[in-house]
């Protein structure tokens, strides 16, 4: 990864941030709601990019942590009557703890095996909440209270206020993840992705690094899941079904692995596309599947790969990103 490539990505991220703010400024309730949804998925997608793009752990069960934090927020506020201000951080911790637990099992495996196991773990969560009567079963739970941000003049029930809040949180997450991936820890993740045996031979505790990355990614996915409850006030098992994990992976791959801003842009493209496709045809999953196949086949490293190609600079991460 070159410093120039990194600078280009920061510029793209700033443009995306300002674009989102401008779009919110000029949109009504429905448009703002869509922007809020994009921001939540952007956080979710960036969290997956940390493990899938940088560390090479392509997970098909990432929605597990998104959904667990959402259910955590719902359970803590509705059953234990916690205030949202306490429930949100606590549910991020729940997601992180689950990430640590699941990660302990899955980081021992690599490549295609890893894909299968994460898919299975994701479906465990879905199957549990589908049949758990205390969490509302298929119907889920509704009536989750929003965070009281009256002190800074925001009312999250209002989609325009929520969009602003979510955009700012997404920007903070971008900065945090950009910091993490540019730190020695982040470089180690890239190193073990490129050649795990060499990294191990050089004395890197590979599993511990992978587990740390997996737990961190689960925590950020949890943040996105907790935010989602603030947007909709509602949780259902659909949050963690396999298509959810699939969609977020599509966003990452469409945007470009190991670029952070790519997955955020991928989230914007995908949420808008899904919004219009699902109003056009009930068979939008068919289109979505074909689109995904085409991106995997033809777009080297997604959107950011297309942009990067113009500078003719080989991006070392992008070249190995999908190699098991």
């Amino acid at each position: 990864m070159t410093a120039t490539a990194e600078k280009h990505r920061h510029i793209a991220a700033a443009a995306l941030f300002l674009g989102a703010l401008a779009a919110r400024q000029f949109s009504g309730y429905a448009g703002a709601d869509l922007i809020g949804e994009i921001a939540v998925w952007a956080i979710f997608a960036m969290s997956l990019d940390l493990i899938a793009g940088y560390a090479g752990m392509v997970s098909l069960g990432h929605a597990l942590f998104f959904g667990l934090a959402a259910y955590g927020t719902a359970g803590l506020t509705l059953f234990l009557k916690w205030p949202s201000a306490a429930a949100l951080p606590a549910s991020i911790l729940i997601a992180a703890a689950a990430g640590l637990l699941v990660g302990t099992v899955v980081v021992r495996l690599g490549g295609v095996f890893f894909i299968m196991i994460t898919l299975a773990f994701g479906q465990i969560g879905w199957a549990y909440f589908l049949s758990a009567p205390s969490f509302g079963g298929v119907g889920g739970l509704s009536g989750i209270a929003q965070l009281d941000l009256g002190s800074i003049g925001l009312n999250l029930v209002n989609p325009r206020d929520f969009a602003l809040f979510a955009i700012v949180v997404a920007a903070i997450v971008y900065l945090l993840l950009a910091g993490i991936t540019a730190s020695p820890f982040g470089y180690m993740l890239v190193a073990l992705h490129q050649n795990e045996n060499r990294a191990r031979a050089l004395g890197l505790p590979v599993r511990r690094y992978k587990l740390a990355a997996f737990t961190l990614a689960a925590a950020f996915a949890g943040l996105a899941g907790a935010l989602q409850t603030q947007r909709t006030g509602f949780v259902s098992p659909e949050l963690m079904v396999w298509t959810s994990s699939g969609e977020v992976l599509i966003m990452v791959i469409v945007g470009g692995l190991a670029t952070l801003v790519g997955p955020a842009a991928g989230a914007a493209i995908w949420v808008v596309l899904r919004h219009y496709l699902s109003s056009l045809t009930p068979y939008w999953m068919l289109v979505m599947g074909l689109f995904f196949v085409a991106v995997v086949l033809f777009a080297g490293n997604g959107l950011m790969g297309l942009i990067g190609r113009r500078s003719r600079r080989p991006n070392t991460i992008a070249e190995v990103s999908l190699d098991a």
């Binding site: 099992v105 490549g111 295609v112 196991i117 479906q123 199957a127 549990y128 068919l286 995904f292 999908l322």
Partner: protein, 290 residues
């Protein structure tokens, strides 16, 4: 639990295990050969069930369903190989697997487009409609047919793998693909044959399961996860791994539902996690897992 009900549950477990075996064996051996997992394998099971259902509706014969389901699944598998997989052989396995993941979405909506949203049922053929007396209890003959079919196919596949030329090629390929190829063995062709056979078996599983389970768009995902768990638990690459993995998961699922109903949906995952912690390569690994 009385001896009779224990026996009935054993038979139920065995029946589910045989379905899982039919699905897992193709996936497992293909994984051993090419490090490739077709996540749309469940889609072929769904296609087999729907095509079998359509064939039975049209002809009124269960035999037609038993022939049409596997044939349709194998044809789709061959088409997938010719259009996509063959061109992707130089690509990483990860990319190939992601493409099959995208195809799951395509599969579900295509089936919805052709057959609609609603669940269908395929009637048990009349010649298998009766029940059999087992230690004073009655047991549906059709379920015994599934068990017998599974056992016969397992034996046939075992003999095919141990006694035929293609079987030897496949075993050599699973052992060491590079070495087999440098000895002049066409591993790609063996891969194609095993892949299509695996697809046909998935289609067959779909037809056979149709009278016992419901046919609906999404049935592919319901079976994919237990199938993947069987592959993982058994250790990919070997027939015996798929067989004993299927037995373990089939029994865990069935007895879990009877003994601890509130945790039934967890039993197979708990078994998987336990196996992975103790033996990351599965129970009977063909070689060290990646």
């Amino acid at each position: 639990m009385t001896a009779a009900s224990l026996l009935l549950q054993l038979l139920n477990g065995l029946q589910f295990a045989m379905l899982l075996f039919l699905l897992a064996v193709g996936l497992s051996v293909v994984f051993g050969l090419m490090n490739f997992i077709n996540l749309a394998h469940g889609t072929l099971y769904m296609v087999g069930a729907f095509v079998g259902f359509a064939a039975a509706e049209r002809t009124g014969s269960f035999w037609a369903a038993l022939a049409a389901g596997p044939l349709a699944a194998a044809a789709i598998g061959a088409l997938f190989y010719a259009v996509l997989l063959r061109r992707m052989q130089s690509e990483s396995p990860m990319k190939q697997v992601l493409v099959t993941f995208g195809l799951i979405f395509v599969g579900i909506d295509t089936v919805r487009l052709i057959w609609g949203e609603y669940a269908q049922t395929l009637a048990v053929p009349s010649w298998l409609g009766g029940s059999v007396h087992v230690l004073g209890d009655v047991y549906p003959a059709y379920r015994l047919f599934i068990i017998a079919l599974g056992l016969v196919l397992a034996l046939a596949l075992h003999l095919g793998l141990e006694r035929t030329k293609l079987g030897a090629v496949v075993r050599a390929g699973v052992d060491d693909r590079v070495m087999a190829a440098s000895l002049g063995i066409d591993v790609g062709r063996a891969f194609f044959a095993v892949f299509c056979l695996g697809c046909a078996l998935a289609g067959l599983a779909g037809v056979v399961a149709a009278p016992v389970l419901e046919i609906y768009p999404g049935m592919d995902m319901a079976i994919l996860i237990p199938t993947l768990i069987v592959v993982v638990v058994g250790g990919p690459g070997r027939l015996s791994g798929a067989f004993f993995g299927a037995l373990l998961i089939g029994m865990a699922q069935t007895f879990g539902a009877v003994l601890i109903p509130e945790f039934a949906s967890f039993m197979i995952y708990a078994v998987m996690a336990l196996v992975l912690v103790l033996r990351p390569g599965g129970l009977l690994p063909a070689r060290h897992a990646a």
